[in-house]
Symmetry: C2
DNA sequence: CACCTCCTATACTGGTCTGTATAACGCTGG
DNA sequence: CCAGCGTTATACAGACCAGTATAGGAGGTG
């Protein structure tokens, strides 16, 4: 399960196509034949590069995390305080792009807990919560219960994203407003 | 897609088995052959009773909603104020039973938006949010922004449940504590 | 030139998917 | 008794599933 940078051009293409299909239709609903055909590549090439579907799934999530994280840090570098709200902005932008919600929550809902991708899901979500905690700490250095506030905002964020496909538009904007009211 | 009460004993058995399998392993991961075999019934009987897997899936969620809702109202009838927190208790109890999180969120993550079951998912979650709004209104009749508070607690509740399988124990208890602090 | 790596093309294995066909059995109500 | 219904048992269709086998082509490097 290499980084996307280590991949040959064909392998990168396979990963791109697989990522889009996994996200849009779900992981179990997409077969390797479909991925190979849509990538314009034979199945042999897919298996030479990834070895198994599970590996491709894990690579999909790992790559999605690192790309998303890079974008987040870029946004944070240009953001003005309170930067914790920037996380809500980034989530809202993701939600605007698609109605399928969070790729990581969707994968977690579909995969067994011992799937190799599950650790990546945990890592991603823990990273988000930890980063949120840092952003809160930098804005409110003397807060009474910083961890509790971080958890509070994290739950708002994740609740809104989890319900994006079910509830409809505007939920993340509302969550952002609620979060803004919780910050001094 | 009948109520569970209208079903023949065999059909009820099929629905029970299918419900457990769908919840534990995911909908796409469970085939009708498995359901029929585990129910001690032939596939013909399954199809005579439900007609198609999609119908069985929709019936699974519809039945799960009505059973869960009955349990919720029983708990609410015996609860002391603020009864909004009883919803957190019920969710926490669900979470204690299984690590697989919310059956409705999981199904939504896996199914396309035009699947017959999707409307049931929307209905279930809208019902929960509406009921939460009522419980808040009865406790704080003069609240400044009751809808916003309801949305706030709803997001805490759903965020915690969505992350139950990822994050580990205790998240719903923390969400409950946060919610308690938001109620007067 | 020879080698090596990546790729193509095609076919296949063995299994699972949803859904249907055919025929017979057992119970229950008229 | 008998007709009807839900059921059993077995088999099948046609498609898809993950993954492998075999053989050979294209391009660069020694």
């Amino acid at each position: 399960m290499a980084d996307a940078g280590d991949l040959t051009p064909r392998a990168r293409r396979i990963l791109e196509v697989a990522s889009e299909l996994f996200y849009d239709r779900g992981i179990h609903a997409v077969g390797v034949d479909t991925i190979a055909a849509e990538s314009g590549v034979t199945k042999r090439t897919l298996y030479n590069n990834f070895g198994a579907k599970d590996v491709l799934v894990a690579t999909y999530l790992k790559n999605r995390h690192s790309g998303w994280w890079r974008g987040l840090e870029e946004r944070l570098a240009a953001a003005e305080p309170p930067r914790a709200l920037t996380l809500f902005d980034v989530y809202a932008e993701d939600a605007r792009t698609s109605k399928r919600g969070c790729a990581f929550l969707n994968a977690a809902a579909e995969l067994p807990a011992d799937h190799p991708a599950y650790a990546i899901i945990r890592y991603h979500k823990r990273s988000v919560e930890d980063r949120l905690g840092e952003l809160i700490a930098e804005h409110e250095p003397g807060a009474a219960e910083p961890e509790r506030l971080a958890r509070h905002l994290f739950l708002l964020l994740e609740g809104a994203f989890a319900h994006h496909g079910i509830h409809g538009e505007g939920l993340l904007a509302e969550a952002r407003e609620i979060a803004r009211g919780l910050l001094t």
